[in-house]
């Protein structure tokens, strides 16, 4: 397989095209716009049969997506930042109506002040919506995860929306080598769209999105939704194994990078993991016992895998690219809960808000116990 030079946005658009969606509701927002722009061109060029629906907002985009997905059409979309904020209400509905929509999020800071650059505050805003969230490190991973997304979303044990999260500009707009699988290989891998009781199948009518009272159904349906989201972890592992057989590229819930004998371990999501790998290699060459744990699905969170991977770590340092004013930043809070009762020290940093750069030198400084001035906030650690 030869690599092509593609931006992360272009790579995602190819993944969408090859996944053969029937309906793609679109609304532009930076830095996601290149995704739907390139995808729209595929439709105009006859390379996708998708019905492109030009909607008037992201709220409408997800609303249209739910209708299409439940009617019996494979459905995809993409958004960022304020668009996701406007969409958020309907993302909860999509998850509760068990609509298997595959989407991309070009991660961008939430306003205000208004900022178009990367952080993870938009994805974290829908953390509890019931959507699956997969974070890509680079353009190749963005493509690969987009190819896998419909398989995970549409699995009968899951039936939930899946978001592939890629860092805005850093990945969406950076051109890198990307290996695309052949169209027919992806078509076979993804298969036909199938949901139980599609609404256009009038011979077996069903009720969707009903009212649920305190004494019946609400709790049960929420519980079922939570079970389905947890099921998505095993499904991710199975789908990733199948994908590896096709592509030779391996995906796991957590990626352990040089954790053998690592005393200090950084934890991060997204493109920063690549920068950390370079810093880890430098420090390992200098004899420092450091490593990286990268988490791919933030929802469902692979708590057992995280705990197992960190069993030998003395100090765990969490890098959060979103904050939680007045509380604990999301990834740090999750890791603290995951490691509760463990002997290791925990240190948490908020970094990279609004696209603030994190360089290899910054990563080295953090491993050395410091906090670079321009870098962000060092939050409470345990022990203090």
């Amino acid at each position: 397989m030869t690599a092509e030079l593609l931006t992360g946005g272009e790579a995602i658009a190819h993944g969408m095209r090859q996944g053969q969606p029937d309906v793609v509701p679109v609304y532009p927002i930076t830095p996601q716009t290149p995704i739907i722009q390139v995808f729209s061109k595929f439709v105009s060029d006859g390379r996708s049969h998708a019905e492109l629906v030009d909607v008037e907002s992201e709220h409408s985009a997800m609303s249209a997506a739910i209708g299409a997905a439940l009617a019996g059409a494979r459905t995809m979309t993409a958004t960022s930042s304020q668009g996701l904020a406007l969409m958020a209400e309907v993302v909860y509905i999509a998850a509760s109506m068990r609509a298997p929509i595959a989407m991309a999020i070009g991660n961008r800071a939430l306003s205000g002040p208004i900022n178009i650059h990367c952080d993870h505050s938009d994805s974290m805003l829908i953390r509890d919506s019931g959507i699956v969230q997969l974070f890509a490190e680079n353009a190749q991973e963005a493509y690969d995860l987009m190819v896998m997304a419909p398989r995970i979303a549409e699995h009968p044990d899951v039936l939930l929306p899946v978001a592939v999260c890629l860092d805005g500009f850093t990945i969406t707009h950076a051109a890198e080598p990307v290996e695309l699988l052949p169209d027919d290989v992806v078509a076979t891998f993804v298969g036909e769209y199938h949901v139980p009781h599609p609404m256009l199948e009038v011979s077996s009518p069903t009720t969707r999105g009903p009212f649920a009272m305190p004494d019946y159904y609400y709790y049960e349906l929420r519980h079922a939704q939570g079970v389905a989201l947890r099921n998505a972890l095993d499904v991710f592992i199975d789908v990733a194994a199948e994908f590896e057989a096709l592509s030779g590229r391996r995906y796991e819930p957590v990626q352990s990078y040089r954790l053998d004998g690592a005393e200090r371990v950084l934890i991060a999501l997204g493109s920063t993991a690549g920068t950390i790998k370079d810093a880890v290699d430098e420090l390992r060459d200098e004899g420092e016992a450091v490593g990286l744990l990268r988490i791919t699905p933030f929802r469902p969170l692979p708590m057992d895998e995280i705990r197992a991977a960190l069993a030998g770590a003395q100090r765990v340092i969490v890098l959060d690219r979103a904050d939680s004013p007045g509380g604990v930043a999301p990834l740090g809070a999750e890791i603290a809960a995951t490691l509760y009762g463990s002997e290791c020290e925990l240190e948490r940093h908020v970094y990279g808000l609004g696209g603030r750069d994190l360089g290899v030198a910054d990563v080295r400084a953090i491993f050395a116990g410091g906090t670079p001035d321009h870098f962000g906030v060092r939050e409470h650690s345990w022990p203090a």
Partner: protein, 178 residues
């Protein structure tokens, strides 16, 4: 080029710095290099100073931080030297390639090469200096080959310019008199 090479491109928005950064990457990818090309997005307005970057390596490029210490700086728009220190962070032993007939006073020191890329572009009916400068960059780096770079430039520019003009401008930049 066994280790990481980082290039910073200076231009005004609309002058093709992003295209140049990507075209170089495309040509080097064809030669088996690992590459990364990305622009720096600031205020989105035509004419604003803009920087773009190309990373080149023999091993897979994993880092996604900004380029702060380039080994080569390419200036597509010479007037930028009046308002920007284009040599900021330039590695020792690094060079500046600038689209200019004469060396600007602001760049009195260091390894600076002037390429008359505006003139080359005009001679070949091209609106911007980026294609001729790409040729000079490849000559300075020792890679990609002229042919690979020409192929990549033709592919990137598509129907925007005649293929013969693009190939000629790349070649003239490649053979710029040092």
């Amino acid at each position: 080029m066994s280790q990481l090479t980082e290039i910073r491109w200076h231009a005004r928005a609309g002058q093709g710095a992003k295209t140049a950064a990507q075209t170089l990457a495309l040509a080097l990818l064809a030669e088996g290099k690992s590459v990364q090309a990305f622009p720096e997005y600031g205020p989105e307005r035509r004419g604003a100073p803009l920087r773009a970057f190309t990373r080149i390596s023999d091993t897979p490029i994993r880092r996604h931080d900004g380029v702060t210490e380039p080994g080569l700086v390419v200036v597509l728009e010479p007037s930028l030297v009046h308002e920007t220190d284009v040599t900021e962070g330039l590695l020792s032993g690094g060079a500046v390639l600038i689209n200019a007939d004469e060396r600007p006073a602001e760049l009195a020191a260091g390894d600076v090469h002037c390429i008359p890329a505006d003139r080359i572009a005009a001679d070949h009916n091209l609106a911007f200096a980026n294609i001729a400068m790409l040729g000079a960059v490849a000559a300075w780096l020792g890679a990609p080959s002229l042919e690979h770079l020409q192929d990549a430039a033709v592919r990137t520019l598509g129907a925007k310019a005649s293929n013969a003009d693009v190939r000629a401008a790349v070649a003239e930049g490649y053979a710029w008199p040092r």
